[in-house]
Structure formats: C-alpha cells, structure tokens
C-alpha cells in the first residue's frame, strides 16, 4: 500500500508514516501474543475490536487469561490502564468519579473515577447492580460522563474490556440485551492447548513478563489506525453477503430475534478492522466470517425449544448462507 498522508494532516515523518504505524501494530500484536500464549485468534479479534472503536466482552472461566489479555493490551498501547473489580456494592460514583468540596477553593472539584483511562478492564461486570452497570455502559456508548451537570469527556481512544463468568451466575445481574449491544465483540479464551499449557507452566510468570513490556503503540497511533481502517473498501458483492447473513439471522429457525441494522453496521466496522489486520485494503468474506461469531454470540438467543448453543447455530448459519 502506498503511503497516503493521514487525514489528520500530520507531516510524513518516518516515525509517523503509515508503514511505520503498521509495523508498530504488528509488533504490538506480536508482543501480546508473546504474553498470552496460543491465543492468536482471540488476540486478533481483540485488536479488531480496538481498531473498530468497539468495546470487548470476554466471557470465560476465571484463570484462563482474561485479565492478562486486557493488561497486555493496555501495556502495548502505552495507555493509561485501569482495572475495576465489579462487586454488588460497587456504586456508579466508584466508577465515574465524584465531586468533592474544596474549602480552600470554595468550590467543588471533580475527582475522575477509574473510567477516565484509555483502557479499562471491568472485571466480572455482571456482579454489579444494574445501576452501576448502566453507568459504565452509558459512558461506553457516549464517550463522555456527565456528573452533576458538567460533562467530562472520556479519553480517546477509549477501550473497555469487560469480563464475565458464564457459569457462576449466583448473585449476578445479567446484562440486558440492549446493554450487551454496546460491546462490539464478545470472545471466549478457552483452555490452552497442551503444548501451550506446558510452555506456560515452565516459563516465567506472566505478570513479570508484563512488567518489563514496553509500550509499542501510542494512543495517537491507535487513533490514526482506527481512521485508516474505516476507509477500507467494501464491494457490492460483500454487502450482498452481509445482507444475506443478516436476513438469515432473522429466520426463526436459528434465533429468537435476528441482528439489528446497528449490529449490521458494527459487523462491517469490525470486518474492516479485521481485513486491515490481514493486510488487505478491502474486506473479504472471510473477514465477515471471522468476526461474525464474536459479534453474534452475545447478541443472540437460540430459538425457543432448541437444544443448540449460539455457537452451533452461528456455525450452522455461516455454513448455510451461500456467497452471492
């Protein structure tokens, strides 16, 4: 790809060139893969989600590397990283921040909460009460926080990684569908392969590896890359395929309710980022198919009376819809 000046009008200095950014991105991905072993697919999806300006939901059991992934991402991005452990007594103010009266200034002063970071890890997001959950999710949707009448912009890029445990549901408040929709992708990590697990067991502790990892990308880089991704070409044939997929999700033999047009837009956005990571300047059907399961997983429920999982249904659906 030729080096086109970025839309931000930055001069074409070597460090700022498109190619250099791509190289840094590749390095960042490599670094994360070096930390979270054997999860290349998930890492790629996580980066797709980041580049598509989305937020990521990780649904998995404790101890498979959810936090490590989030932490590694934050580290290579050179970003401000905050982790919020969601509990049932967590209040919205604990996330968003509070205004405190300062006697010396005779005024309220806003103390930003942990959400004012580039990368936020919301651990066990379903343990908090709906009130707290919605505070987080509103912030994610709007990119800003309004407290006592004053609006505070959240940093840009702003990337939320939320995790939840799909099995241990005692004392949780499941996120409603409308709020799940705020997450662009949902992934699950799964247990590592035997070889990877072996390597994990013998190698150095992950937190120490993390500790000496240096940032590779700057938030500025992320913004530029996000801009580039959004420009990727989408052909008519691909749009036809996307439409066919969306139409098929609305067939009651798979799911209760099909994907919304908003989900369709998200699908394209995510596929663009995925294509970019695959070094293409156009979106291929494979990009759609790669991100589709992650996109559909948390948005869909299987039709009533069927004993299939959403994953099964998504696989079946993808195998069913012919490329136009």
């Amino acid at each position: 790809m030729t080096t086109a000046p970025t839309t931000l009008g930055v001069t074409d200095s070597p460090a700022n060139s498109d190619e250099a950014r791509r190289a840094r991105l590749a390095e960042a991905i490599g670094t994360v893969n070096g930390i979270l072993l054997g999860k290349e697919r998930q890492v790629q999806l996580a980066f797709s989600c980041l580049l598509a300006r989305g937020h990521l939901l990780i649904e998995d059991l404790p101890g498979v590397g959810k936090t490590t992934l989030a932490h590694a991402l934050a580290t290579v991005l050179g970003a401000d990283y905050q982790r919020i452990q969601f509990t049932s007594d967590l209040m919205p103010a604990d996330i968003l921040g509070v205004s405190i009266y300062r006697r010396d200034k005779e005024a309220f002063e806003f103390h930003p909460g942990p959400i004012f970071a580039d990368v936020v890890l919301a651990d066990e997001v379903n343990r908090a009460t709906p009130k707290t959950q919605s505070a987080l999710l509103e912030a994610m949707a709007e990119g800003q926080v309004t407290i006592e009448g004053s609006t505070h912009a959240l940093p840009d890029p702003f990337f939320v990684i939320a995790t939840q445990n799909p099995l241990d549901l005692v004392g949780t408040y499941p996120l409603p569908d409308s709020q799940l929709d705020r997450f662009l992708l949902s992934i699950s990590l799964g247990f590592p392969d035997p070889e990877v697990e072996r390597e994990l067991l013998v190698s150095e502790d992950r937190s120490r590896v993390l500790a000496r990892t240096a940032p590779v990308l700057s938030p500025r880089d992320v913004l530029d890359l996000q801009e580039t991704c959004a420009q990727l070409h989408v052909s008519d044939a691909l749009l036809a395929y996307v439409q066919a997929l969306l139409a098929e999700t609305r067939n009651s033999r798979w799911f209760d309710i099909g994907l919304s047009p908003r989900a369709g837009l998200a699908l394209l956005r995510c596929a663009r980022a995925h294509a970019f990571l695959e070094q293409r300047d156009f979106v291929a059907p494979e990009d759609i198919k790669a991100v589709f399961p992650g996109l559909a997983r948390h948005r869909m429920t299987v039709s009533h009376g069927l004993e299939a999982s959403v994953e099964d249904q998504v696989d079946g659906l993808l195998a069913q819809v012919a490329l136009p």
């Binding site: 291929a284 059907p285 819809v321 012919a322």
Partner: protein
C-alpha cells in the same frame, strides 16, 4: 422425530400426511357403510387432535384391540374380504388406524405411501376425468409430506430446526413441479407400455356397487331409482342423420315373465340367437356407441340392431345385445339400426305362450274389463288403440311419486290410483294385452337423449331410462307401443324431466343440466382419448407412418427409447433444479470451479469465501496450489477489492482449470 418437535403448524409433515390420507379416502367414503365411515374418520380426527393438543400415543394393547375389533366389524359388514370394495375398505380402515401410531418419520412415510396406493385403487372403480384431479391432489400432498419428512430427518442430527421453506404455496408448488417432471415419462408409459387385449386378471363381474343401469328384472320403482341418477349411460355418435327424438328408443333388457309383482327376462329370450337380422347395408342409422361400464350384460342399440358387435356374445331372438361378461370398462362399438324391420312375422308357439302367460288369481277387475273390450273389439289393433285411448282420455297422471300398490297392483292402478311412472304404464298395458289374448312383452331401455352440438353426438343418461311395451300383431310382427307417451306425450318429445315438471333434487335446475350436458363433451373426449385407448388402438399407434401393427417387443423398444429421450431432456434441468442461474459469467465459472473441486473430493461449499477455498485445497493431489492461488486471489480481487482488472485473465484461468491434470 421427537414427539414435541412435530408441532409447527403447516410445516408439520403430520398434517400433510393426514391431509393426503383424507383426500385419498374421499371417493371411497360414499360407497362405505356409515358405521365404517365413522370408524375410518375417528382415528384421523383423534390423531389430528393429538397433534394439536400434544396427546401421548395410545397404549399398544388398546391399539391392538381397536384393530382387531375393526377387523371383526369389517368382516361382519362385507361377509368376506375378497371383493374389490371389501379389500379397499380394509386398506382404508387399516391405514386410518395406522395413524394412531404414527409418531415417527418411518410411520408417516408408510402412511403417505399407502395413501398413494389407496388413491391408485380408486381407479378400479372410476376412471373419469375428475380422477385425474383427485390423483394429482393426493400426489401433491404426499410429495409435500415426503419433502417435509426428509427435510426434518436431515436436520434431526444437527439439533437445529429444519428450514421452513416457503410456506403452503411453496410446498405445493414443489410437489407440482415434481409431478410436472414426471408427466412426459407418464405419457410415454401410457402410450407405449404394452397392453393386453384382455385384463391380466379376472375382474369379478359384480364387483362394482351394482348401482347403475337396467337389470334383468323390473318391479315398480326400478326405473324410478335410475331416474334420479344423472350419470351418463352411453353416448351415440351418428354417422348418418339423427332420428327424431321421439324415435330414440334404445333397446335393453326385454322382459317376458310376470309373477304378479315382478317382470323378468325369459330364458329362451336370452339364449336363442335371432334368426334374421336387418340388412346392415340398408340400415338408415349408423352410429358408434360409447357405453359406460354398468356391470350388466346389455349393449344398447336403437330398434332394430343390424350388427352384432364383437363384444356381444349373442344378438337374441328378442333383439337384446348380450355380452358374456358384465361390462366393467368403457365399451365402444359400431352399430346400425333399421326401425322398419319386421320382428317375427310369424310367432312361434313357444313364444306366443310365453307372451300370453299370466299368474292366476291376480287383478280380477282388469280381467273382467279386458274380457268386455275383447268382445267389443274387431281386431287386435283396435283393442290396442282402445287401451291407449283409455290411458289418454281417462284421468291418468305421469308422476314420480306414485302411491304404493298392493297385491292386485294392476287393478289398483287402473281403477283407483291412476298415478304412475313409465314402468307402471308399460307393465299395466302389457298385462292388459295379455288378458285380451294379444301377445305382449315389456321392453326396458332408454328413451331420448341430449344432443350435444359441440361434439355432435347424443348423450343418454341413466335418468333417460324408460320402459315400454311391444305387442305382436299379425302381419306387422312385434310392434312398439309406448303407453307412457299416451299419458304424457312430452315424455318422448322432451324427456322425462320435462314431462314431470318437478325437481328431483335440490339443485335440479334446467340451466345446470344444460351446462352439465355441455361439459359432457369433455368427458367424451377423455373417454375417447384415454379410457378407450386399448391394445388395438395402441398397436395402430404409428398407423399414420405406415406401420400397421406394433408388436409388444417394438413397443417396449419404443418405450425404452422414449424414456431415454425424456431423461436426456430433463437431466440438465434436474441438475439445475433449486439453483438459480447466475448472470455474471465470472460467478458462474467460479461455481463450476467449486463443483470441480467438490467432485475431486475437496470439501468446498458455496458458503466458503475464496480464501477458505484456497485453504481447503491445500495438500490435495492433482491440484496445482499456484493455479488455485491465482484463481482464488483473482476472484477475491475482482469481487471484493476496488480494482476491476484481471477479469479476462481470471475467466481464462477458471475455464482452464481441471483437477488431476498434471501441470
């Protein structure tokens, strides 16, 4: 198929199976005894309700008990299970009962298949044009059921619901499309499958429901019953001019013997061959008769038949045309008639005796009256005229609802009730003549007919059945006398329905009869082209090409050829069925490329993107990875990237691609 899974409205194959069975049963039900109809319909209703309400299957023992009980009832009704009706009744009942245990795909399939078999058995009873519609309906339903069952089974292992298709119309159009595919083959089989001159197995003579046509006996009410039946008896296609309507007396059974109540044919009359026939070459009326099956032994002809058709075993001395077997299929024969022929200028003593025979001690009043008339009459002809005048001038009425008569039926009719149908008049007149010493007999048959201008033929319905008399007069032989005509002249001028002036049933309207008579033209064409297509017609199939006779062997060869041609013509279409034709040549070639890979054992599907396809071919013998990479890369670029170059190269590559060619 899981129990709870079958409930999905119209896409539930069970409803289709039940529907198919119900349609297949339709023509069977009217001829079944009412209690058997109830036993047949009950399981169908139960199973439908069970599906709607989610009832569990009945216990096995109960089902067994029901089946055995039904068998007992069936045998009790029919006596045995050998006749056609009984056998088909057994099939219907068992099939309906089978529904009780139809909870799995296998059973559903069995019921749908056997429904088709049941549908086929109905052709044993009727081969009319409506049966085509009936057969097609059954077939469509069964095909839709089969498709739904197959789809459901295919998806049973995937734990996913079967695709729902396109709703009711989609299912039906799928079935009709399959049938349309079979039409050319069916046509080839119909035309070319070798036919035998006679049926392969003997059809029992009285196997139909013995409901149609005239019989060899007549009691008051016999013809009246036929009068209610509007089904066609036969059609006559005149080669010569048409006789006047009042002269259209179609001769059937001739009745000689009277026992006080019932008229019957005569043993000699049935057995002795006529010794003289009218000269066929001189006969003024020549026509072809297309006789509907009526299970009896008579062919019908105008007075007096001059030809003995090949189907007839005997042209009897009283000019009945009799066949050896009951007529169970459409029979077509050429006929010529001469109305001026003199039947028996001399009456043999045996026949004179039989034509005068009367039971003793019946009808004393009539006997007395006739003795008086005899004394006053100058000649036999005078007496006949007097009797006719009596019917004409006295207050006699032609009616469909005559009062019941008891022992001295003639006396009561002649002096008291004076209301009757043609059989009353014919019977009474004949007895009167016999009492007066004039040889007389009753002739039954049909009178009149409806001239169909469209097809230029005369249609005679069962409702045209009639009875008249014949008296033997010296010099003119047997002479037809129709006493009904003396009472109600319009009976012979315009037909019995007009003469009666009353409606026989609720929908008995003039215009409706006209429409139906007009439509009969279609029925005749159907008879002509389909039913009457027999071995003889088949062997002369290629007559127009100069081939005189086709042997069975030639027919089989032709059939094989025709089937081959049909298959060849349909094959490309069949292969393309369910796949829409792609406009863009690149995409078309791409699909062909996928097909070639698929045939070579590469697990590719149409839902795969170009890159996935490239990945799937990796490591397959006989496939050049570079070539595949070039093709898939080119296709990916052309279809999904923004540049549109390389189209021609890609088309060339796609066309050139073969699996297994050493590169």
């Amino acid at each position: 198929m899981k129990h709870g899974r079958m409930r999905q409205g119209l896409h539930n194959p069970l409803y289709w199976v039940v529907g198919t069975l119900a349609v297949a049963l339709l023509p069977q039900l009217p001829s079944m005894a009412p209690h058997l109809v109830a036993i047949t319909l009950l399981p169908i209703a139960w199973r439908t309700l069970a599906e709607l309400r989610g009832w569990k299957p009945l216990p096995t023992l109960l089902r067994l008990g029901i089946t055995l009980a039904t068998l007992v009832v069936l045998v009790g009704t029919y006596g045995n299970l050998l006749g056609r009706r009984a056998a088909v009744g057994l099939l219907s009942l068992m099939l309906a009962l089978k529904l009780l245990e139809t909870y799995r795909a296998r059973d559903a399939r069995v019921v749908a298949s056997l429904s088709l078999f049941l549908c086929a058995t109905q052709f044993l009873f009727s081969q009319g044009m409506l049966m085509v519609v009936y057969g097609a309906t059954c077939m469509t339903g069964a095909l839709a059921a089969f498709a739904l069952i197959a789809r459901r089974e295919a998806f049973a292992v995937t734990a996913r619901p079967a695709p729902t298709g396109r709703g009711l119309l989609g299912e039906l159009s799928f079935g009709s499309r399959l049938m349309a595919l079979a039409v050319p083959l069916g046509l080839a089989l119909f035309l070319l499958f070798p036919r035998w001159g006679s049926p392969l197995w003997g059809v029992p003579e009285r196997s139909l429901d013995a409901r149609t046509g005239l019989s060899d006996s007549m009691t008051p009410g016999t013809i009246q019953a036929l009068f209610m039946d509007d089904s066609p008896a036969f059609r006559a296609d005149f080669r010569t001019g048409l006789p006047a309507r009042r002269d259209l007396y179609w001769r059937g059974p001739v009745l000689w013997n009277f026992d006080g109540r019932q008229w019957q044919t005569d043993f000699y009359g049935r057995r002795i061959e006529a010794d003289t026939l009218p000269d066929a070459a001189e006969a003024p009326y020549v026509y072809e008769v297309q006789l509907e099956p009526h299970e009896r032994h008579w062919l019908f002809a105008l007075d007096y038949p001059a030809i003995k058709p090949p189907q007839a075993q005997r042209l009897t001395v009283d000019y009945q045309l009799m066949t050896r077997r009951g007529i169970t299929r459409l029979t077509v024969y050429e006929m010529a008639s001469d109305p001026d022929f003199i039947d028996s200028p001399d009456l043999r003593q045996t026949f004179r005796q039989r034509a005068l025979q009367l039971p003793e001690a019946f009808n004393p009043r009539t006997r007395e009256l006739m003795a008086g008339w005899r004394a006053e009459a100058n000649s036999d002809a005078d007496l006949v005229r007097r009797a006719l005048a009596h019917f004409n001038q006295e207050n006699f009425r032609y009616t469909l609802n005559p009062p019941l008569l008891s022992r001295h039926s003639v006396d009561e009719f002649l002096f008291d009730t004076r209301e009757g149908f043609c059989e009353h008049y014919a019977s009474t007149f004949t007895i009167m003549m016999r009492m007066a010493g004039i040889p007389a007999r009753v002739v039954t048959g049909y009178q009149g007919g409806w001239y169909n201008e469209l097809g230029n033929y005369v249609l005679v319905r069962q409702s045209d059945a009639h009875a008249w008399s014949e008296v033997w007069l010296a010099g003119v032989g047997w002479t037809r006398i129709d006493p009904t005509a003396a009472v109600a002249p319009s009976r012979v001028e315009r037909g019995a329905i007009d003469a009666l002036g009353e409606r026989r049933f609720l929908l008995d309207y003039e215009w409706l009869r006209e429409v139906r008579n007009g439509f009969d033209w279609l029925n005749r064409a159907w008879n002509d082209w389909v039913i009457a297509f027999d071995a003889a017609r088949q062997s002369s199939l290629l007559g127009f090409m100069g081939v005189e006779r086709l042997s069975a062997r030639t027919l089989v060869a032709l059939l094989a050829g025709a089937m081959g041609v049909v298959a060849l013509l349909l094959l490309p279409w069949l292969l393309r069925l369910g796949r829409h034709r792609e406009r863009d040549p690149v995409v078309r070639l791409w699909h062909r490329f996928l097909q070639r890979l698929h045939r070579a054992g590469v697990p590719v599907t149409v839902s795969m993107g170009p890159l996935e396809v490239a990945g799937a071919t990796a490591g397959h013998a006989g496939i050049d990875p570079d070539e595949v990479k070039r093709i898939t890369g080119g296709y990916l670029n052309l279809r999904y990237a923004s540049d549109v170059q390389g189209r021609d190269v890609l088309i060339r590559d796609l066309k050139r691609f073969r699996v297994g060619r050493p590169s």
